[in-house]
């Protein structure tokens, strides 16, 4: 049955201003919710990015040394022996500078696949845009680093003790798979040379991808490498690997063991953390923002639904007599229901069209101000459908009430 458009349009003409306001409200809601949804998805992707580590098995503990004169190298050996002796510890390693995925302790550098490339980068005082050159963070640590981080070698070998003990960095490096893919696409990186500040360095191995200490949600987040040289420091961070359920006990025993293992050091409570906590703290701001985006989107949709429902309610009340007349001249209850649904469909439809334009404009503004990415077009129809559905749900109550208006009301005055 074709919808009787003419009566709807003429009814709407009587409420031009109100209908226009409702359209505007739907448009604003549509624009904000679409952009909020887009930011939401982006944040969720960042928060759930895989680190490449067996996260539920890892814990970290840091000690702050008070005596700069102590023998750091020997201290590290003693500490690691004590930590490995703890029941349930499968692997333990010292992290240089406490640097690991999502730790925020960033130490980075740049390198190129050729000496000419590196010289060019040095002359330009920046590595960006020079082909064959990349900048990246790096990790290093004691001999058990790979097994403590749960990393698998995809090719080549781990560092030798000799390489680790070298005075200057630059004996050997291990690259991640995405690093290898960027620098030497389609080739085995093992045996290749990287040119940087310390001259050419041979690549001895390749590992699966791990995340950088700080992430920004781009593919470059997994471009990094391990360097061989590792030095003990009297303040150090240890990474422990154990069964997930053992982590709390292992951390407790590790604190006790380290306390006994050498010169007076501080082992602050907040520096004993499972990797689950590390991840949670790293993304705390994003989670807050996520909560805000969800709450405000829901609140917006709620207020808009209220507006639609409330207005429909008024209109039904106002038109009770007309409805009665229409019923008396033969309109079925279904006809009345459909009238209000179609009216809502038209108003929300106009709002959605305007809203999609606004959403796009808002996205342009956000791109300029906050370096947000371009809104994928798919979000527009999804947002439109959402608001249409919301409108139909909100109008259902008043529309049903209208359809129950008895025809006899037409005969009454008032």
């Amino acid at each position: 049955m074709p919808l009787p458009l003419m009566p709807i349009l003429s009814a709407l003409r009587h409420h031009r201003l109100t209908a226009a306001l409702l359209t505007l409200q739907v448009a604003l809601t549509c624009a904000i919710v679409i952009n909020a949804g887009f930011m939401l998805v982006g944040r969720i992707q960042q928060i759930t990015a895989a680190s490449g580590l067996p996260e539920d098995q890892l814990s970290l503990i840091s000690v702050s040394g008070l005596d700069d004169a102590a023998n750091a190298q020997a201290q590290r050996r003693t500490d690691l022996t004590a930590l490995r002796a703890i029941d349930g510890v499968q692997a333990a390693a010292a992290l240089d500078n406490g640097s690991m995925p999502l730790s925020r302790n960033y130490s980075g550098t740049g390198a190129c696949t050729s000496q000419e490339g590196f010289d060019r980068a040095k002359a330009a005082r920046g590595i960006d845009g020079i082909s064959g050159c990349v900048s990246f963070p790096s990790y290093s640590g004691s001999s058990d680093l790979l097994s403590a981080m749960g990393l698998k070698l995809l090719a080549g070998r781990d560092f030798t003790d000799e390489e680790r003990a070298a005075e200057k960095a630059g004996q050997a490096v291990i690259v991640t798979r995405s690093m290898a893919h960027r620098l030497w696409p389609g080739q085995n990186p093992v045996g290749k040379l990287l040119y940087g500040f310390n001259g050419p360095v041979p690549v001895v191995g390749m590992i699966q991808d791990v995340l950088a200490p700080m992430v920004s949600g781009v593919p470059d987040d997994t471009m990094l490498l391990l360097t061989s040289t590792s030095k003990g420091q009297i303040s150090s961070t240890y990474l422990l690997r154990s069964a997930p359920q053992d982590r709390q006990r292992v951390l407790r025993e590790a604190a006790a063991a380290l306390d006994k293992a050498g010169p007076v050091r501080l082992i602050p409570e907040e520096q004993r953390r499972t990797y689950t906590q590390v991840r949670r703290e790293y993304f705390q701001r994003d989670v807050t923002m996520l909560g805000l985006l969800i709450t405000s989107s829901l609140a917006l949709l709620f207020v808009t639904a209220l507006g639609i429902g409330g207005l429909a309610n008024f209109w039904v009340g106002q038109r009770t007599r007309q409805i009665g007349i229409r019923r008396a001249v033969g309109a079925t209850r279904g006809d009345i229901l459909r009238h209000f649904q179609a009216e809502n469909f038209l108003i929300v439809g106009a709002g959605v069209v305007l809203g999609m334009l606004l959403a796009y404009g808002l996205n342009q503004l956000l791109m300029r101000q906050y370096e947000l990415a371009r809104l994928p077009l798919l979000y527009l129809p999804v947002g439109a459908l959402l608001l249409w559905a919301l409108g139909q749900v909100a109008v259902l109550g008043p529309a049903l009430r209208a359809s129950r208006v008895p025809p006899a009301i037409a005969t009454r005055a008032g």
Partner: protein, 438 residues
């Protein structure tokens, strides 16, 4: 008359309780969300030292090489001073007060043998710091410029640290061990914590919040090579042994106090001359015209203390308020127009359009007032949730009396404005047409 309109409004609102509640809720939510974020913005951009801020200035030199890449992720190194530049300004500048400073984290040893030492954040600075920023003292005072020159082992302690170490603040003359060095306490400050911490290395995570636990002469910190917290940037290969004194490594903040416009003009000329001279000698590669003398509030604006997340949240909240207001306008319009009969009768009985406008305006204002009160409650809830965040600005997110007052004002004004259009529209209802139907 207004009392009568008030009773009319109450009666009208009671007749549609659900709709009234919904309108009050909508305005309350909108006001609550936007006032939460406006309050956060307010505390982040407030004047940290109102009695002094007009006379405080931050000079900005640019010793970076011409080729230094712009817009780096880690901020602009020229926002901080190199040691030679800071010392030159300190020696040759003619300001009322001037001081160079940097943050530092040091191990502080307890006075009792059983307790363990702990790390505290403090500040390395020069003698004028205390006078320039009017730091209040509980006991003693700051050190002198002479003691700066002598590298005297003197310290000023913050109230909290003094109490923690000694159990009292009356400790002038006693010694305190910081890292490996003994210092003589010359003063204890009263609690002093301007927000934002304008004088510190802004843009790092501690632009708000904690106050300094101790103050030491900068000369001593440099001599003993204490660790600097905050940004340290180097842009040339230099001797790592002396990185703090390197002419191509920035890490210091520098403030001057200038009391008269003449002093400001003189100091600006002095800065230009200094930069021109450094440029001529080949040390500064950039145009000496790029030097600036920022008044305190301009400096805070330049350093952009409000993170983009907070800005986004503010825009989100304001967008939400806008939708709520459009919603209110539409609902009030529908509501008022539906009362055509009643309005028609009142008009026929002699009420002027203006009377109708006032009557309906009273109703709108009543909704606004209730919404505003609800908004206050909701923004307190919102601020409480902001304070649960781990960010440095979170803890200072408190609503003060002016903000409280503006919440209600905003709510009433917003609703009144929203009610104006519907009320005006309804007041133009012609009496004759309506009365016919009754």
């Amino acid at each position: 008359m207004i009392g009568y309109y008030f009773r009319l409004a109450l009666r009208s609102l009671r007749r549609t309780p659900v709709m009234t509640a919904l309108m009050v809720c909508a305005i309350g939510l909108g006001i609550g969300a936007s006032m939460t974020m406006l309050t956060v913005l307010h505390v982040m951009t407030q004047d940290p030292i109102p009695e002094k801020s007009g006379g405080l200035f931050y000079p900005h030199l640019d010793p970076l090489p011409l080729k230094y890449p712009d817009g780096g992720r880690w901020g602009n190194p020229s926002n901080n001073f190199t040691y030679p530049d800071a010392m030159a300004l300190l020696t040759h500048g003619k300001a009322t007060h001037q001081a160079a400073m940097a943050g530092g984290r040091l191990l502080v040893w307890p006075t009792k043998a059983v307790a363990r030492p702990n790390y505290y954040e403090g500040r390395f600075t020069t003698a004028d710091f205390f006078a320039m920023f009017q730091v209040p003292f509980e006991h003693g005072q700051g050190w002198t410029a002479h003691e700066d020159d002598e590298h005297a082992r003197v310290a000023v302690l913050g109230h909290d640290l003094a109490v923690k170490l000694y159990g009292t603040t009356d400790v002038v003359g006693r010694t305190v061990r910081l890292k490996d060095t003994l210092f003589r306490v010359v003063g204890v400050t009263a609690p002093w914590s301007p927000q934002p911490r304008f004088y510190a290395d802004l843009g790092s995570s501690d632009s708000f919040g904690q106050s300094d636990a101790f103050f030491l002469p900068l000369s001593v910190a440099v001599e003993l090579r204490f660790d600097i917290s905050g940004n340290q940037s180097s842009w040339a290969e230099s001797d790592m042994e002396d990185v703090l004194k390197s002419p191509s490594s920035s890490w210091l903040q520098f403030w001057v106090e200038l009391d008269t416009p003449q002093q400001v003009a003189d100091y600006t000329r002095f800065l230009h001359d200094y930069a021109a001279q450094q440029h001529a000698s080949g040390r500064f590669e950039r145009d000496p015209e790029t030097v600036r003398l920022y008044p305190l509030m301009d400096w805070l604006a330049y350093r952009k203390l409000v993170p983009s997340e907070v800005q986004l949240q503010l825009w989100l909240a304001l967008g939400f308020l806008l939708v709520c207001l459009v919603n209110i306008i539409a609902l009030l319009l529908a509501k008022f127009l539906r009362r055509g009969n009643e309005i028609g009768v009142r008009r026929a009985l002699g009420a002027r359009g203006r009377d109708i406008l006032v009557q309906l305006g009273t109703e709108a204002a009543l909704i606004g007032l209730s919404g505003g009160l609800l908004g206050i409650a909701l923004s307190q809830l919102g601020l409480w949730s902001v304070r649960q965040r781990p960010d440095d600005y979170a803890r200072i997110a408190q609503m003060d009396a002016p903000m409280l007052f503006s919440t209600v004002t905003l709510a009433v004004v917003a609703t009144l404005l929203s009610g104006l259009l519907p009320a005006w529209r309804a007041s133009r209802i012609s009496p004759a047409l309506q009365i016919k139907g009754v």
